[in-house]
């Protein structure tokens, strides 16, 4: 099945009670799959179509206040349109789960899987999980429900448009009884009810607000630890093991690629082809991006034999560089990491090919002091 079908099935297995989405462009076929199951009577919850992404998230905020397990999905401009309510959902600590399929933000219009849509929502207080294959999409949606409800933080599951959303891969299906075992029953605590008219989240002053954001930060810092526990539980029940940051070929590799999403999977398959099996190159795959698991990443990367880090970004924060590169640099600051950090930037949604990666590495190997450390995919 493709990524959208996998996600839709996982939403069903998670027994989401309210799914609300804007069903038209830039929506993907994910919601169509859910709507179809719902129309055939095969979906346990309610599906509601609304007139905009803004309304979709507003609707879910109300549903989540009322205690429902909620889900929505969107992509690119749709996510940007939700921006204001992303903050509201996280400020209210509502465990809403959302899938965002990476697609380039206009202008100009484009359909390529640039990551700027989700990364520009970095500071909205949502957990962000990046998936690198279709199996992981199915697993991550279920994990996201458990994680969001445990820490009371909304969670975004993110995967690349087309290369995951519309690409068919063999997937080991989850069974309903396994999912039921893995997930807690939906939270029963309704904060609001029609029989009790009341004001939710009225105007407060800075003192309360300061505590709200501080508590949100503290809870966010708990996420890596909690996700680690949930991953272990997941492995027990389903037999597949995920880690916060996945390392490949770290024996004594001099060059380490850092990537997230489908690109990581691509690089992984290219590793033996790049160096003819000499294991000179390794890969760090970022799965949990927001918050970045600081401890894990630093301990993985802070090795004396690592000479070069090459961070692959299919995104760009204009004026700074790739967002992942920026985050990695900040993490390694003051850790004594001695290697050089390069960026291979594929912003605009450039497809990563072996040829392109090879030419990028030639540039990096020939790099001299004073030259720009961003290698532009578009120039290769």
């Amino acid at each position: 099945m493709n990524g959208n079908q996998a996600a839709a099935l996982a939403v069903k297995l998670s027994r989401a009670q309210v799914v609300c989405a804007y069903p038209i462009t830039p929506q993907t076929s994910l919601v169509e799959n859910i709507a179809e199951m719902w129309a055939r009577g095969n979906f346990p919850g309610e599906y509601v179509s609304v007139e905009s992404e803004y309304s979709a998230l507003s609707y879910l905020i109300g549903a989540a206040y009322a205690g429902a397990r909620t889900f929505t999905a969107t992509s690119s401009q749709g996510l940007a349109y939700m921006h204001e309510l992303l903050h509201w959902a996280s400020g209210a600590r509502l465990p809403i789960v959302m899938v965002n399929v990476n697609r380039t933000l206009g202008a100009p219009w484009s359909l390529e899987p640039d990551q700027r849509d989700s990364l520009s929502q970095r500071d909205t207080g949502w957990i962000q999980l990046y998936c690198s294959d279709v199996q992981e999409i199915m697993d991550t949606v279920i994990v996201a429900f458990r994680l969001a409800e445990e820490v009371k933080i909304p969670c975004m599951v993110i995967y690349d448009g087309f290369s995951l959303s519309h690409t068919y891969e063999a997937v080991q299906l989850l069974r309903q009884e396994q999912a039921d075992l893995f997930l807690n029953p939906p939270p029963k605590s309704a904060l609001i009810h029609p029989s009790r008219p009341q004001t939710v989240q009225p105007v407060t002053d800075y003192r309360y607000m300061a505590r709200v954001v501080q508590a949100g930060h503290r809870a966010m810092m708990q996420v890596p630890g909690r996700l680690g526990e949930i991953d272990r539980l997941f492995a027990e029940i389903f037999g597949r093991k995920y880690s916060l940051a996945e390392e490949t070929n770290f024996g004594n590799a001099e060059t380490i690629f850092v990537a997230a999403g489908a690109m990581a999977q691509t690089v992984k398959s290219f590793l033996p082809l790049l160096d003819g099996g000499e294991e000179k190159n390794g890969l760090l795959r970022l799965r949990l991006f927001k918050p970045l698991p600081e401890e894990e990443i630093v301990s993985i990367l802070n090795k004396p034999f690592i000479k070069k880090l090459v961070v692959l970004d299919r995104n760009l924060s204009m004026g700074i560089g790739g967002v992942f590169a920026q985050e990695i640099k900040a993490l390694l600051q003051g850790t004594g990491f001695r290697g050089q950090i390069f960026e291979l930037n594929l912003a605009g949604g450039i497809d990563l090919t072996l040829d392109l990666l090879r030419r990028g590495m030639e540039r990096i190997n020939a790099w001299q002091d004073g030259e720009e450390k961003i290698i532009w995919g578009v120039d290769l």
Partner: protein, 547 residues
């Protein structure tokens, strides 16, 4: 206030107040307040008769022709006549026109009028004695035009014995002599006159005041005299040759044509003027055998006072228009032979006329019709200015009350204004003639649409989804398109549009909850009946409830 939570708190539950948002009186933010005011619908405001169009339209919509006529009668006793000959002022601002196409009000009025003519039943009102007399008041109406007939109708319905005197051989005034038969079929007028006679009104034709009898003799034998003698004679052209045979006034010409005295129309006819009389005369000439008809007007086409509908009809009849030209001289030895004109600068109404030196033209013609206005005939009859102005009644030595109405008061106008003038005069006379006013009040225009009336069906709003309106053949379908403007009819559009839920449906009507209305004005913008207005209103201080 102590800080909530601790430094290591992971979750603060959302702040929830046990009191609902109703405590938040957002109405305090308001600068403008919605106010509901019933007003005249645009059609009614423009109608010279102030006809309650939405009121009778509502009856037609339901197919209740009798009630439609009963409502109509309060405003206009001759819908068949206006249904043919009115210039439909009502239609120009019809709210429905902003949606798809203005309602064809005149056709529906005509339908009501023709229904009334076909279904007329004798319903004579019992005569009532006049104030201080033991017999009903005798009223003599001089002139049988629309103003005279309408006053005669209302006075008769209120219990007077009415006699109408007409100097022409046919009754109807301008209805018979001025308005061409192609605009008002003679059958319709005759049927209307028959009904009036059945009602007990005596109409005498071919009798002229001052020739056949004197005003004072009339006054000695009646309680009231109503002068509805019309606007009078055509104004002369005041150019050299304007007394030659072949030069005629428009009213005179139309009278000749309409009374079939055999006006000798042949050859080329030139009509001078730009009003309705000019256009009617030109069209009548074209339809009565003239080879060529020119209408010469001193200003541009846009400035013509004539109704555009008439101008178009004239064009279709073959009338040729010459604008921005004035008549200088009429030439001829025994009869009219030709006329010379000067070209003038294009001008709008009110501008001065300026000849362009050296530019002119000549038309060889056999007849010239002057349609440059009429001069009143009333001053010759009545010396009192307040009577002539139609504002007040005067009493003659005999105790007879004297009043004037119609074009005699207003100058040349139109059929609807004249009927209105007649009604107004009749009501004024009624106050003088009778002690009590029960019957009068039944004829006074009063009621507004009731709540819930005037709702437009969805089918009517979607002509592209549902069969097109067929106004001419199916007046009831056309009437269903009426929005019923002017009164709130509880459609609930304001309620549906209010983004603050500040309009509530209570006890059968929609009410503003001003505590929560922020004054955005969406309701007023959306109200299809146009009865919501945003007004700056002083609000007495409202206290914000303490939390």
């Amino acid at each position: 206030m102590p800080l909530p939570g601790k430094n290591d708190t992971l979750y603060l539950p959302p702040v929830i107040e046990t009191i609902p948002t109703l405590v938040n009186k957002t109405g305090l933010w308001r600068f403008l307040t919605p106010v509901r005011k019933d007003k005249l619908s645009p059609c009614r405001a423009l109608c010279p008769l102030e006809s309650g169009i939405p009121l009778w339209m509502e009856k037609v919509k339901k197919g209740n022709w009798k009630q439609a006529w009963q409502v109509m009668e309060r405003f206009n006793p001759f819908p068949a006549l206006t249904g043919y000959a009115c210039y439909q002022f009502c239609r120009s601002e019809c709210s429905r026109g902003k949606w798809d196409e203005a309602l064809n009000i005149r056709e529906i009025e005509k339908a009501v009028g023709l229904w009334r003519q076909e279904n007329y039943r004798l319903d004579r009102v019992e005569k009532r004695p006049a104030r201080g007399k033991n017999h009903p008041p005798r009223v003599v109406v001089i002139g049988s035009g629309p103003a005279g007939l309408s006053s005669a109708y209302y006075l008769s319905r209120m219990g007077a014995e009415v006699t109408v005197l007409e100097k022409e051989p046919a009754a109807g005034g301008l209805l018979a002599t001025g308005i061409p038969g192609y605009r008002l079929p003679r059958m319709v007028l005759e049927k209307e006159l028959t009904i009036l006679q059945d009602e007990g009104i005596i109409i005498k034709t071919g009798v002229e005041v001052g020739k056949d009898f004197l005003l004072n003799d009339l006054a000695a034998n009646c309680e009231a005299l109503l002068l509805a003698v019309g606007a009078g004679r055509d104004r002369r052209l005041h150019v050299p040759g304007d007394n030659l045979p072949g030069v005629m006034g428009a009213i005179e010409f139309l009278k000749e044509i309409n009374l079939s005295r055999g006006a000798n129309v042949s050859g080329t006819v030139v009509v001078v003027g730009g009003g309705n009389a000019a256009v009617d005369a030109a069209t009548a000439a074209a339809l009565s055998g003239a080879e060529e008809v020119f209408l010469v007007y001193r200003r541009s086409k846009e400035a013509m006072p004539a109704h555009p509908e008439e101008v178009q009809a004239a064009g279709e009849a073959g009338v040729q228009f010459l604008f921005n030209a004035v008549l200088d001289e009429i030439h001829g030895s025994l009869r009219v032979e030709k006329a010379s004109f000067s070209k003038v600068q294009p001008s709008q109404r009110g501008d001065e006329i300026r000849r362009i030196p050296g530019e002119g033209f000549t038309i060889e013609c056999q007849m010239i019709i002057a349609a440059t206005g009429q001069q009143g005939s009333l001053p010759g009859l009545v010396p009192l200015p307040e009577i002539a102005a139609g504002k007040d009644a005067a009493f003659l030595e005999t105790g007879c009350c004297l009043l004037a109405a119609g074009d005699a008061v207003t100058g040349p106008s139109n059929i609807a204004s004249a009927i209105f003038g007649g009604r107004r005069a009749a009501l004024k006379l009624a106050e003088i003639l009778w002690e009590t006013g029960d019957l009068e009040s039944s004829l006074l225009p009063a009621p507004a649409l009731k709540k819930g009336q005037g709702l437009v069906s969805f089918a009517s709003l979607n002509p592209s989804l549902y069969p097109q309106q067929r106004a001419l053949t199916h007046p009831q379908e056309e009437a269903a398109r009426c929005f019923g403007c002017g009164n709130c009819h509880n459609c609930g559009v304001c309620w549906a549009f209010c983004p603050d839920l500040a309009i509530e449906y209570r006890n059968g009507s929609y009410e503003f909850q001003l505590d929560y209305c922020k004054g955005c004005g969406i309701c007023a913008a959306e109200c299809p009946a146009g009865v919501l207005f945003m007004e700056e209103v002083h609000r007495p201080g409202t206290k914000i409830n303490e939390r």
